[in-house]
């Protein structure tokens, strides 16, 4: 498999919830400026894995992690890592869109503001730019004061993407970003992902095989906490090496 420059590298990663092991010896190299899809049946560990990449699992009690996740050459689990700084570099889009109960403008400006940005002009610029990049500007430009919660599901999710972009991250983690959306809204998100990968490294968890096939360059198949197979997406979907991968992508189980 030909690799471009490496953005994220997980090495011998094990994760335990209490006594239960959720990730088993994960080794994965995620290239920069590509879309990497994580697929697999429910409970296979793909969401758990994506949350190790920005240390969201820190928020859960009783989680123990072994091994390392190296981003841009730095192990994010080594002592002395500033998790807050780390998360600024890594945007996250959640399965359930979660705009804050604030106006559209304030949602997008939230990230820059907590970083101390007060200049109204600069904020205006960032908000517009982020909303444009998230392909929602034309729909909301006339009522930026409207509550983010008043938008439709698909718009909310794109607003969340805009909110993440406003912090100028390098990586975007998307945890089933379209699973609650209708086909039209889903198509818009997928189109957006395709555009965003020019500037961002994207990792996306998805349940939807077609979606993985459409948007991703690389695909990792997770099963029972392990990576069964990892390869270029077109290989995973046409000539997988593992029987289990083939069974899953062709819908024979899952």
């Amino acid at each position: 498999m030909r690799m471009q420059s490496t953005k994220i590298k997980a090495e011998n990663l094990n994760l335990f919830y209490g006594d239960k092991q959720a990730l088993r010896n994960i080794n994965l190299v995620i290239p920069a400026y590509k879309v990497t899809a994580l697929i697999g049946p429910s409970g296979c560990g793909k969401s758990t894995f994506i949350r190790t990449l920005n240390r969201m699992n820190d928020l859960i009690d009783n989680v123990r992690i072994e091994g390392s996740v190296v981003i841009d050459g730095t192990d994010i689990y080594k002592k002395g890592i500033d998790v807050v700084e780390l998360r600024k570099k890594i945007g996250m889009i959640f399965q359930k869109s979660n705009p804050f109960p604030k106006s559209i403008y304030d949602n997008v400006a939230y990230g820059p503001r907590i970083n101390g940005l007060r200049d109204k002009k600069v904020l205006d610029q960032i908000v517009e730019q982020s909303l444009r990049h998230a392909a929602i500007w034309d729909e909301v430009k006339d009522d930026l004061k409207k509550s983010g919660l008043a938008l439709s599901g698909g718009q909310q999710q794109r607003l969340c993407i805009a909110r993440a972009l406003a912090v100028q991250p390098e990586i975007l983690l998307m945890d089933e970003p379209a699973s609650a959306l209708d086909p039209i809204a889903t198509a818009k998100i997928e189109e957006l992902i395709y555009e965003l990968k020019e500037n961002y490294t994207i990792v996306i968890v998805t349940h939807n095989m077609q979606q993985a096939a459409r948007v991703s360059d690389f695909t990792a198949f997770f099963y029972l906490g392990e990576i069964i197979e990892y390869d270029e997406t077109k290989r995973i979907f046409t000539t997988p090496k593992e029987k289990r991968t083939e069974d899953y992508v062709t819908g024979r189980f899952g």
């Binding site: 807050v84 907590i114 993440a164």
Partner: protein
Amino acid sequence: MNRKIFGASFVLASAASAAVIVAVILIFMITIMIGGWDHLTWEFITAAPEEGMTAGGIFPAIVGTVLLVLLMSLAGVPIGTITAVYLSEYANRNSIFTKMIRFAVNTLAGVPAIVFGLFGVGFFIQFVGGGMDSFLSGTGEVHWRQGNILWASLTMALLTLPVVIVSVEEALRSVPGDYREGSLALGATKFQTIVKIVLPNAYTGILTGTILAVGRGAGEVAPILFTGAAYYLPHLPSSLSDQFMQLGYHLYIMATQSPDVEATLSIQYATAFVLLVLTFLLNFAAIILRSRLRARAR
């Protein structure tokens, strides 16, 4: 057939129980209103008591009650809110320390009001007030080693603290975890997340806690019995070191200490009515404020 009869009679029984409660409140209100009708005049709520409480009004007691409740909220709500933030956002739920705090809060909620009153005397008046007096000795005429509205409010704040803590904590827990994660994922610190996302979404709960505390505080007499409530004052309290009159206490002394209890009977009814209405109004104001905030948050 039997099952249907059981079902129907249960509906009847539960409706009857609910009706009993409504009936009790109605009888209560009507009795009080009829008893005090002659005194429910504008003058009654704007004038001071006269002739050994057998005439005049209850204005100083109304003012005292409102001031007491306000000062109490000012002291108790911030402390209760910060405690709730600690319990809900920072504390490890299973640590011994957290369990100790919870145990303390629950115990505090179960301590009889009169014990709070005695604690207020021992701690605020004797210890803090006494300490202040010896520290400030000779500098002024104010004496802190005696009951006043400040010590009474603080004692009352302690009494209502558990109510505030429990309702605010509940409100904080009802803020969706999605919001917290969303904020943290954007690189916000935990403190920023609490101040900018969690607390603004829990305002209504903080107000609910305040409402409950006010409702409780306005009606309690025991905590202020020894900590600052006055039998009779010719003037309104003008500083924190002044004593004050309070409706519940006024009612108590009219009923037990007055030279002519019979003569004050109608005034007692009227005072009780005003106390109930005042509590209701304070609650109502807080509820209005809450629904306004809620509407603005949407």
